[in-house]
């Protein structure tokens, strides 16, 4: 479903992604781990089409289409979703308000009937209940005054509402308490299916106990230096990135 080949990307003058290769097939969960500043969020932004992130080399296909020339909204309409590491506050914009516009944009692009306020509300309420969240949250301005944890759960809710084919989740577990991690994992698993895939960026092995990955990648300095099964996450958590970082440095110096 997603094929990334030799992806290089820069922000401003600085090259941050230095040749990423990654293949995600339907039904798979890929975990990406890596030290701070290694480029995980940059990869997520590049895939979602954030302006200012310039691809300097490589290609990405999503569901057989060339992803890179697409606008962010067209990527969303094609079935891609990004859960932000740092979801922002948007004063004056209510979640239910913009999500209805979002979902209808997505539905329209697929030739589906748009949801009126009533139908959308029913859909939204169902998802809120599924995630055992507070109903009041969706009538408030997006993330305004939300706690860090509430913001993250709100991202998972948006994913549940939009039902994407590929969910890229940038640290959906950071800042969540132990119970909330399980709740978030439940939401993520609920979205999984034979046709859908997940890229889960995380620093902690814990969430991977609930959302079991098919592949774990370690991203260091803009490159994937190692990929493996779920046990790689345990290894990383036990040993840190030092050895892997050294391996990456050797790789780099040897060309």
């Amino acid at each position: 479903m997603l094929e990334i080949r030799n992806l290089h990307a820069s922000v401003g003058e600085v090259e941050i992604l230095k040749g990423i290769d990654l293949q995600v097939k339907p039904g798979e969960v890929h975990a990406i781990m890596g030290p701070n500043g290694s480029g995980k969020s940059t990869l997520a932004y590049v895939l979602a089409g954030k302006p200012g992130y310039v691809v300097t080399a490589g290609e990405v296909t999503f569901l057989g289409k060339d992803l890179l020339p697409m606008k962010p909204e067209d990527r969303a309409r094609a079935g891609l979703f990004l859960s932000f590491q740092h979801p922002l506050e948007i004063p004056g914009v209510r979640l239910d308000q913009f999500l209805r516009a979002g979902i209808n944009g997505i539905r329209k692009s697929r030739g589906l009937e748009e949801l009126d306020v009533l139908k959308f509300d029913r859909h939204l309420v169902k998802k809120v209940q599924l995630l055992e969240m507070d109903q009041g949250l969706v009538r408030r301005s997006v993330n305004e005054g939300f706690s860090g944890g509430e913001r993250k759960r709100n991202e998972v809710l948006q994913m549940a509402v939009l039902e994407p084919t590929l969910a890229i989740l940038d640290e959906p577990d950071s800042g969540l308490d132990i119970d909330a991690v399980q709740e978030a994992a439940k939401g993520i698993n609920q979205q999984r299916g034979p046709e859908n895939a997940t890229i889960l960026i995380t620093h902690y092995q814990r969430i991977l106990n609930y959302v079991v990955p098919d592949v774990v990648h370690v991203l260091i300095n803009g490159r994937i230096v190692r990929s493996g099964g779920k046990e790689l996450a345990l290894e990383v958590e036990a040993q840190g990135y030092e050895e892997l970082q050294e391996a990456e440095a050797t790789l780099r110096s040897s060309g």
Partner: protein, 456 residues
């Protein structure tokens, strides 16, 4: 053109107004009480000495707004309109809908009885100023021209010199009007550039409560000038909401001066909406003249193209325990320009004054420009005064966030712009007016930011 020919042009326009004034006096168009005639005459004398405030150097009040386009054009007083003065469609575009309240319609500055509706309200006066002057209402003589200052304000002097019609609204002591009074001033296209000088007097007696809506509109193709003055007296314990919408044609010049006196424990709430005009200037002067009076002044301006809007708000806290809240917001597109000039004056001895002033601008284009000039003159220690200002482009991160959820870029921009103004729209207490403003804002934003998909 050289400086001297330009000044000569302004001189010529001054003489034009003097001649027009003389002609009016001679043909006896205004036959009301001698006190009105005297008021006009002294205003004309004052205006001819003051001239238009075109000098920009050392002229703080007019520094950011060039009114030479007004000062150099001999606008004519329009001839009385034909019948019907405006079509039903035009009227409907500006009417308030079936509120059941009073409506006075003015076309080219003159009251139109057949377009107006005046349900009888015991004790309450809602009538044309021309009628009030001929019938010699004492309240009119007591208040008219008493607050709006001709001595230093040329536009007020000019308005007063040509004062002949407008609206008089009197809500006597202890009376509550539960339906809004709508004053609708429409201009029509003429072969010549025309000027009107509408005058409004609103007097809310002790404990009275009312909402007055003033609407200004006109054709988009015509060059016309509206120079309105309103005097508003809010009696002790009264609660007056004053809502003014400026929806003039895109080539119109619009200058208004609103002079408000807020009495003891009285509340004055205003909302100033600017959508139209090539050049609009609103002077809002509020005198907090007695203890525990409160005012809440709000404004919203949406400007595009080469439009220019200038809001000058002066609040004078003369007495202790008076409060003021100002919140103005602007959305600027194209090459438009907005000025917000907010002065707060706290007199000596006016203890426990609590004043807050906020002006925020959202720039939708690189060429739009906003200037916020707060000025505080505080002659008392024991006060609380705050001000905030912000001016910037749309938050790119928020834009991306919404687009990543499937909203098109225009839809996301529209939603964020609406969010920016939502606190003002949502803050309008009357549902009728809130829906009206919401509709006007939405229409303007759709015309700027596309209408490809509905939002919200």
């Amino acid at each position: 053109m050289t400086l001297s020919t330009l000044v000569a042009e302004e001189q010529e326009v001054l003489e034009h107004y003097l001649r027009a004034f003389g002609a009016l006096e001679r043909n006896g168009a205004a036959r009301d009480g001698s006190w009105v005639a005297a008021l006009r005459r002294s205003a004309m004398a004052r205006f001819s000495r003051l001239g238009f405030p075109t000098a920009r150097r050392g002229n703080e009040e007019w520094k950011y707004t060039d009114i030479r386009p007004i000062a150099r054009r001999p606008f004519q007083l329009p001839l009385p309109p034909g019948s019907p003065a405006v079509g039903a469609a035009e009227l409907a575009a500006f009417a308030l809908g079936p509120t059941g309240g009073s409506r006075l319609v003015f076309v080219d500055g003159r009251y139109q009885e057949q377009l107006s509706s005046r349900p009888s309200l015991p004790g309450v006066s809602v009538l044309s100023l021309a009628e009030a002057l001929t019938s010699g209402a004492d309240t009119v003589q007591e208040h008219l021209g008493r607050y709006a200052d001709c001595d230093t304000h040329a536009f007020t002097a000019l308005n007063t010199a040509f004062l002949h019609d407008g609206a008089f609204v009197h809500i006597p002591q202890g009376t509550t009007l539960d339906k809004p009074v709508h004053l609708l001033f429409l201009s029509t296209a003429h072969a010549q550039d025309t000027a009107t000088h509408p005058r409004v007097l609103i007097v809310a007696g002790e404990g009275a409560r009312a909402t007055v809506v003033e609407t200004y509109g006109g054709p988009s193709g015509a060059d016309y000038f509206t120079n309105a003055v309103a005097e508003v007296v809010v009696g002790p314990g009264a609660d007056l909401t004053y809502y003014k919408e400026q929806r003039q044609g895109e080539r119109a010049f619009h200058v208004t001066t609103t002079q408000v006196v807020v009495g003891r424990e009285a509340t004055f709430s205003s909302f100033n909406l600017d959508l139209g005009g090539a050049l609009a200037r609103n002077n809002l002067n509020v005198a907090m003249d007695d203890e525990r009076g409160a005012c809440a002044l709000r404004g919203l301006y949406l400007m595009g193209g080469a439009q220019h809007v200038d809001n000058q708000v002066i609040i004078e806290h003369a007495r202790p325990y008076t409060t003021s809240r100002e919140l103005y917001k602007g959305v600027l597109n194209g090459r438009s320009r907005a000025v917000f000039h907010g002065s707060i004056i706290v007199h000596k001895g006016a203890r426990k004054v609590d004043a807050e002033q906020v002006d925020k601008n959202l720039l939708l284009s690189d060429e739009a420009e906003a200037d916020t000039k707060p000025a505080f003159w505080i002659y008392c220690d024991d006060v609380k005064c705050r001000h905030g200002a912000a001016c910037g482009q749309m938050d790119e991160n928020a834009l991306f966030y919404l687009r990543s959820r499937g909203l098109t870029e225009p839809a996301a921009r529209r939603l964020l712009t609406r969010a920016f103004v939502s606190e003002l729209v949502e803050g309008i207490a009357s549902e009728t007016l809130r829906d009206r403003v919401d509709g006007l804002v939405e229409a303007r934003l759709s015309s700027w930011l596309g209408d490809d998909e509905a939002v919200g």
